[in-house]
């Protein structure tokens, strides 16, 4: 039976981790996290015999928009040892995702994320944590806080021209990213999808330097190729990394880029047709072997990867040849 602490006991526990001016006078205590909007800053949550002090709601960067507050994801302090945690409370969300004209059903599944957390506990390319039920049976995920930037931000912050980036930094970025692809391959081998592969769903752990996948609670209703959508995501991130960002037709037009006249429809992303995938046309020093991999994600491709192993094999071959 979990012990529940009194207000004064809690204050004493918190005083070990926070300066006196930051310690609230009274705490609202939650054992049931169903109403996650009601779990707020300075509240205390009891979960599986442990006590967490809630800090901020997590935010997610949206392309071109203000950060979106994720009210079901809370930063927290584990009061037993002062470590920073992320508590993901249960938010059952079903939605129809759309890529281009293609619609497919998705949902957030705490169970899926909990399963994967158990599966990847020994892999340094994933976030780590465990799941625990609250008093109402909600499956809360308690995640280790990862200090570090999203991969997307890291790449965009590199203040240098593309050629310097490509020769001096991209090889290491690619090696790290290939570890991420291997990690996704590991999931697929175990019958799991990541479900939401995006450039900002890889955090670069500033302590270890490892690239780590986060946020794998989304499941999608797959069709024939169970991992096709994950693969599409992996390809998009790869193109982003090779290009040091998205290479948009709009920007090329704006700059009056000399290569623009050589770019045709087949050179664009198979879904996001404002993005150039045939990067060799813009950056001629991109090797053919790498560009060929990118082109499998283009509108003009005649062949798409059937599985993650095929993508990895192509990348390993070109890295070994380098």
């Amino acid at each position: 039976m979990a012990k529940f602490f009194s207000q004064s006991e809690l204050r004493e526990m918190i005083s070990r981790w926070l300066p006196p001016r930051k310690i609230p006078k009274r705490f609202r205590i939650h054992r049931d996290t169903t109403e996650f909007f009601r779990v707020e800053y300075d509240d205390v949550v009891f979960l599986g015999g442990k006590t967490y002090l809630i800090r901020h709601n997590a935010k997610e960067q949206r392309f071109g928009l203000e950060d979106e507050v994720k009210f079901w994801v809370k930063r927290a302090i584990d009061l037993t040892n002062g470590s920073l945690k992320i508590l993901k409370l249960v938010f059952r969300e079903k939605f129809v995702a759309k890529i281009g004209d293609i619609e497919f059903e998705c949902l957030r599944s705490p169970r899926k994320e909990a399963r994967i957390l158990d599966l990847v506990a020994d892999s340094h390319n994933f976030m780590h944590g465990f799941s625990v039920k609250d008093a109402r049976g909600n499956l809360v995920r308690v995640l280790d806080f990862i200090k570090g930037d999203p991969l997307s931000l890291h790449i965009q912050r590199m203040d240098m021209d593309h050629e310097t980036y490509f020769h001096q930094h991209f090889p290491q970025v690619l090696d790290h990213y290939m570890d991420c692809i291997r990690a996704i391959y590991f999931l697929h081998q175990h019958g799991e999808k990541h479900g939401d592969i995006r450039r900002d769903h890889i955090l670069i752990d500033s302590d270890s330097g490892h690239y780590r996948w986060i946020d794998f609670d989304i499941n999608y209703r797959h069709r024939e190729n169970i991992y096709g959508y994950d693969l599409f995501g992996l390809g998009n991130v790869l193109v982003f990394l090779v290009g040091k960002g998205d290479l948009l037709l709009r920007d090329l037009k704006h700059e009056g880029h000399p290569a623009l006249s050589r770019v045709n429809e087949d050179d664009l992303n198979m879904v996001f047709t404002n993005r150039v995938v045939n990067l060799k046309k813009i950056y001629p020093y991109v090797p053919d072997s790498l560009n060929r991999v990118l082109m499998h994600f283009s509108k003009g491709t005649t062949w798409f990867y059937e599985n993650t192993a095929q993508l990895l094999e192509d990348l390993e071959e070109l890295r070994n040849a380098a």
């Binding site: 059952r92 293609i102 169970r111 499941n219 209703r221 069709r223 024939e224 190729n225 169970i226 798409f304």
Partner: protein, 156 residues
């Protein structure tokens, strides 16, 4: 099953779902072979065991499966009647709706073929866009690519 059947294209598997394309595949076989002796047809729908993540409880999943099976069995019977109506001997038209764990429907259909040794597989073309086919895959394309020791008809 006799040794002859194992080698015969006359032992036909029509793999169907709830789509119009599947109905067209059934109608095609009915028009082409109705009244011709010597053919035996199985109409198959593999019920994919849904992922547990899509249901809150096992009971909910069980209910969904039962409803799905009732709906599919009605469709299979309707398709069976199309073939019988076209002149197939009812003795030689059967239906199957097994429930399977199916990460790939094409592989599940091909597993059925391997197990029962049909000589011909008939499927409807899904009419997917190229992008859709690349990202989400196509059952008919995969069957065409991976089928061995049998003939595949893809009906437009």
């Amino acid at each position: 099953m006799t040794a002859d059947k194992k080698l015969s294209n006359k032992y036909i598997l029509i793999a169907v779902d709830e789509s119009e394309n599947a109905r067209r595949a059934v109608s095609y076989v009915a028009e082409l072979l109705g009244g011709v002796e010597g053919f035996e047809v199985t109409i198959l729908h593999v019920i994919p065991l849904p992922e547990e993540d899509f249901f809150l409880t096992a009971t909910e999943k069980g209910k969904w499966l039962s409803k799905y099976k009732v709906r599919i069995d009605a469709i299979l019977e309707e398709y069976r009647q199309i073939l019988i109506g076209a002149g197939f001997d009812p003795k030689y038209v059967s239906v199957r709706s097994p429930t399977r764990y199916c990460p790939s429907m094409a592989e599940c259909i091909l597993a059925e073929r391997d197990e029962r040794e049909y000589g011909t597989i008939v499927v409807g073309r899904q009419g997917l866009s190229r992008t859709e086919e690349f990202i989400f895959g196509s059952i008919s394309s995969k069957i065409v690519t991976h089928a061995r020791n049998c003939t595949v008809w893809v009906v437009e």
